[in-house]
Amino acid sequence: MLPSDIATRIRAGDAKAFELVFRTYYQPLCAFAFRFVRDSAAAEDLVQDVFGAVWTTRATIQIKTSVRAYLYTSVRNRALNVRKHEAVVDDWDRDESIDHVRELHPPPIQPDALLDRKLLEARLEAAFDSLPERAATALRLRWRDELSHAEIAEAMGISVKGVEKLLSRGLRALRESLSVG
């Protein structure tokens, strides 16, 4: 675990503390950034920029929830700026509206009493891939990166209630993929 005074140490210019944070979160942040930019080199550049900015402005940074939430938030903000800049069509909000359509047309459930683990995982994977971007991101942040609800809310720029909604909706969709007819 990172020491609890890590933010204070970084603010004071402790490069060793900063390196520790970098080494701890670089990879998960790159994976997070990849969800937005869909290019691993661009994702790394983006995370590099975020850490560069953190170091440059360390003296004045305001940490609300945690260093981790701050980093995820910065990555997201920067990613959305990049996205806006590049005017990518598959927009975050458009995703959300498709969600309602998806809910009206759930994927057909295939009866199979002998699903083995591999098949279940393949189903989960398919179901996860077809989740709305926001729900997939929330699930990932919650269980893969183990952020708290408050941290996810900050990182995604939504309310804690919104996070809970996304998580339960995402879980529901994944559960359905596991149901056997």
Partner: protein
């Protein structure tokens, strides 16, 4: 928790925790850190060595040197006010391995979580001070004795390739000789034992050194050629070895599991690939909890 009220959720959450989507795009954290540090002129401060043999007052000029291997080498030059002897310290952080060549053509591979210090110049004998693990290739020079000081041990080369392991966390100093011969003795005692090729010398915290001749020395020398060799180790030892090798936290959350023997060999695998193989072999599972990987007993 409203999010865990369904029996299927355990399976789903399990899958979310372990799904491999981020290993599709592996990142080189060492290289990434070097890039960031170079761009932003970040100098990582290090705690000074605590060792009697070297004076305590330092004037520090930190230097970041990128070596030809692509690995990052943290080194610092220190000058003692009392004498004009300039000491250099070289670090390999957890997750890094680095090689360097000392004056006189002595080649050193430094394993993760290790520190080597030595005088930059100086005639006569060569003395280096090791915390951690290093592999040495020495062309013997009868005019200049080469000595490795590690904990209370002194290893004197008699023309050879050998490896010394002396992490602060372990009780012994272990010396594995690949070629040639070395003499191993305790700091204070004068009696030295001679180790030949294939020998493993062990110097305990107290008492005289002993010598054995194991079937293989791979676990002591593999790191020098980029292999992580886990042999004759419990899962607990493996966890701390993985921490040094990959530079991430690894713990075992089960006392029985921690004593399970592990035999494995890795070369170029990612931490998750290594953990996949190890946990499969011992019938465990792992998860990323906060900043560390935690190995747990399988619950089904």
């Amino acid at each position: 928790m409203p999010e865990q009220n369904d029996p299927r959720d355990e399976h789903i959450i399990d899958w979310l925790r372990t799904n491999r989507e981020d290993t599709d795009h592996p990142v080189d954290v060492d290289a990434a850190w070097s890039r960031l540090a170079a761009r932003n002129h970040i100098d990582t401060q290090v705690a000074p060595l605590r060792r009697r043999a070297i004076p305590r007052t330092w004037q520090i000029a930190a230097a970041l040197v990128a070596v030809a291997t692509g690995a990052t080498l943290w080194s610092r030059v220190t000058k003692t006010p009392s004498s004009s002897q300039v000491m250099r310290e070289v670090f390999a952080l957890n997750g890094q391995r680095t090689t360097l060549t000392l004056d006189g053509g002595i080649r050193v591979s430094l394993n993760g979580g290790s520190r080597l210090s030595y005088a930059v110049s100086g005639a006569g004998s060569r003395d280096v001070y090791l915390d951690g693990e290093a592999y040495f290739e020495v062309a013997h020079d009868p005019g200049r004795t080469f000595r490795v000081h590690a904990k209370r041990g002194v290893v004197r080369d008699i023309g050879t390739r050998f490896s010394v392991r002396a992490y602060a966390s372990q009780a012994n100093v272990e010396v594995a000789v690949v070629e040639g011969a070395v003499a191993l003795s305790a700091d204070s005692a004068s009696a030295a034992i001679e180790l030949a090729a294939g020998d493993l010398g062990v110097l305990p915290d107290a008492g005289a050194p002993t010598v054995t001749h194991p079937a293989s020395l791979d676990r002591y020398i593999g790191f020098a050629t980029g292999s992580l060799v886990l042999e004759g180790m419990t899962l607990r030892d493996v966890a701390s070895t993985l921490e040094r090798w990959y530079g991430v936290g690894v713990t075992v959350d089960d006392a029985v599991l921690a004593t399970r023997p592990v035999v494995a060999r890795f070369r170029g695998e990612t931490i998750t690939q290594a953990l996949d193989a190890i946990t499969l072999a011992v019938g465990a599972r792992y998860e990323l909890r906060g900043e560390a990987y935690v190995i747990r007993a399988r619950t089904k």
